[in-house]
């Protein structure tokens, strides 16, 4: 009898191909991880990757096209774009991670209150989230930066707070579905205390999907932050923050495409890598542990 019981139903057999398809294609994942590894290196030890001093002027070689000497070309003051991109990684990533940290922390608080708070609290917080949602991220950032003046810090907060309400929603949903899940009821039936249930079931199950969100959010934050830099509301030159690089390069687009195109590609690459990883994590979580 038990043989039947253990046999995997054919439906499973039909599903596996789909499951495999849903997950990020291994190739893509490998590439993404590789890219992230590079970015990580640039983050902690830019010296290892850089070929020039990112700040050093070389007026003789101004606006040099990409070449074996200058992989990504040079800018109007003859600075090596590749090295600047490498050194810019730290600034960009720190902003991206910082903004993500800010937004997720805020989102957690709001989401938790909205889901677990009493009727009044939940209602109020939900409204607050609605109001925040009515502020497009960039508009919010514009206002905040106008108040605090442009700096990496204000960028972090502007983007962080700006993107918080969206995540707050997701988290609220997560917590609610955990709260109303069968396993929580089962725990209640076992006579566990609310605190224990919150600690053991609701929080972990609600927070777990955030791993994926974090990855996604870092990419998006960097894009938003760079948009601010682009509007001249970002970090100060000569900082090689990617958005700032792009903004500075835009003037030369017709003569020196690389100053605009390459930093843009780098930003996209990072966003893409982070997202791919995030999605992969999401899928693994969906499929459950093996």
């Amino acid at each position: 009898m038990s043989t039947i019981e253990r046999q995997t139903p054919p439906t499973a057999a039909v599903q596996t191909p789909r499951a495999r398809r849903r997950a990020a294609p291994p190739a893509g994942l490998v590439v993404a991880s590789g890219a992230l590894l590079l970015f990580a290196t640039a983050l902690v030890a830019p010296g290892l990757l850089a070929t020039h001093d990112p700040y050093a002027l070389n007026l003789a070689d101004a606006l040099h096209a990409p070449s074996p000497e200058y992989w990504f070309g040079t800018d109007e003051a003859g600075r090596d774009l590749y090295s600047r991109v490498v050194y810019g990684t730290r600034e960009s990533l720190v902003i991206g991670l910082g903004a993500t940290a800010v937004s997720l922390t805020l989102a957690l608080v709001l989401g938790a209150l909205a889901a677990l708070g009493g009727r009044f609290v939940a209602g109020t917080v939900n409204r607050v989230i609605e109001v925040l949602l009515a502020f497009p991220t960039l508009l919010f950032a514009l206002l905040l930066v106008a108040i605090t003046g442009p700096s990496a810090l204000s960028q972090v907060f502007a983007v962080g707070v700006g993107s918080a309400p969206g995540y707050a929603r997701i988290i609220r949903g997560q917590i609610l579905s955990a709260k109303n899940s069968g396993y929580v009821e089962a725990a209640v039936a076992l006579g566990h205390s609310d605190g224990r249930i919150l600690r053991q079931h609701i929080v972990p199950n609600a927070v777990r999907p955030l791993v994926a969100i974090i990855a996604l959010s870092v990419g998006q934050s960097i894009v938003w932050a760079s948009s601010l830099s682009f509007l001249g509301l970002g970090v100060a030159p000569p900082s090689p923050e990617w958005g700032a690089l792009l903004d500075a390069g835009r003037v030369y687009i017709t003569q020196a495409w690389w100053l605009t195109v390459i930093p843009g590609l780098v930003i996209v690459a990072l966003a893409l890598a982070a997202t791919t990883l995030g999605k992969h994590i999401q899928n693994t979580l969906e499929k459950g542990e093996k």
């Binding site: 599903q15 949602l133 991220t137 948009s227 017709t254 930003i267």
Partner: protein, 343 residues
């Protein structure tokens, strides 16, 4: 406003909803719809009020003496001002009053539809906005429409396929979603206007001129919505009703278009409400890159020169647009998924 309700517990939990003391099985038909409408309007008002307050708070938090700023803006000078000059301005805009009074005046003005007067243009903010809202709305709507077209075409084509095509589909979504507006805009401008000369360099408000700006906003949005739609699409493809459709002799294309698509766009519809905000954010950038008139440009200008009545006016306007958009989204949602009406 949006689909948060779908998160609420499936099994009716007593106490969370007002219990109507009626006899068993007494259906009150008008009541629920009425209540829903009231709730929505209430929500909308709260959002607008909140936005207005937030905007005012932002003003109050801005650095520098307001009157000085106003004078400096008008003359484009960054110097100290004489008390005489300041007094006159303070008088004109009631800046000498305590913040609370200013706030109340401001809210009071809003109630009668008065958004104040632009420091720079000497005309009512409502007028300033009305002049600029047209192009932006046109741009936003075109962008959202375009993104839907792109998204649906691409997802229907690639989702749920095996092998390379499926992989490509997802990667393209992700890439598109990650494209920064300003960058995409510049590239499009470089290639299609400067390079190929297919489109005017100065977009202006012309019909042809709207193509590139709209694309700039649409492509990332399409990618973003595509991600959500794709997942749902592939889930729906496995549903029994799809199988029974096949059992009826329906082909793959038929199944995708007639059945699966409708199910898979639901999350994207929800996103569209939020998307409006995103596209307006984008408009701020895109209008600069493509030299289009519009709210975005006015906003950046107003923030830079601290023309605060204009800034707050636009903030409220955008909040209002957001509210409207989400009401529409709810409507669209119930149209696509009629089950919600009865539930």
């Amino acid at each position: 406003m949006t689909r948060t309700s779908s998160n609420s517990p499936p099994r009716p939990a007593p106490g969370t909803r007002p219990v109507v003391p009626t006899l068993r099985r007494s259906p009150t038909l008008t009541w629920p719809r009425l209540r829903r409408i009231v709730e929505k309007i209430g929500g909308a008002v709260v959002v607008l009020f909140g936005a207005a307050t937030a905007a005012f708070a932002a003003q109050a938090a801005l650095p520098g003496d307001r009157a000085t700023v106003i004078l400096n803006i008008r003359a484009g000078q960054a110097i100290e001002r004489t008390p005489a000059e300041l007094a006159q301005i303070n008088e004109q805009y009631g800046l000498q009053n305590p913040l609370v009074v200013q706030y109340l005046d401001y809210i009071g003005g809003l109630l009668v539809g008065d958004l104040g007067t632009s420091y720079q243009q000497f005309k009512p903010v409502s007028e300033v906005i009305l002049q600029q809202i047209g192009p932006t709305v046109a741009l936003t709507l075109t962008a959202v429409a375009l993104s839907w077209l792109i998204m649906i075409a691409w997802v229907t084509l690639t989702a749920g396929r095996t092998g390379r095509l499926a992989g490509a589909g997802a990667v393209v979504d992700t890439t598109a979603a990650g494209l920064p507006h300003y960058w995409l805009g510049i590239i499009l401008l470089l290639v299609f206007s400067l390079g190929l000369g297919w489109f005017p360099v100065i977009s202006g408000p012309s019909a042809i001129g709207i193509v590139l700006p709209a694309l700039t906003l649409a492509i990332p949005l399409a990618g973003f919505m595509g991600q959500a739609t794709r997942t749902e699409f592939e889930r729906s493809l496995e549903q029994p009703f799809v199988i029974s459709a096949r059992m009826r002799g329906m082909g793959d294309t038929g199944v995708r278009l007639r059945h699966v698509l409708r199910h898979s766009v639901l999350p994207a519809i929800t996103l569209s409400g939020w998307a409006l905000g995103a596209t307006i954010s984008g408009a701020v950038v895109v209008e600069t890159v493509f030299s289009r008139p519009g709210i975005g440009k006015v906003l950046v200008g107003a923030v830079n020169s601290q023309d605060l009545p204009v800034v707050t006016g636009i903030v409220i306007l955008i909040a209002a647009l957001y509210v409207v958009a989400n009401l529409l989204v709810d409507l669209a949602y119930t149209l696509v998924d009629p089950r919600l009406k009865s539930a």
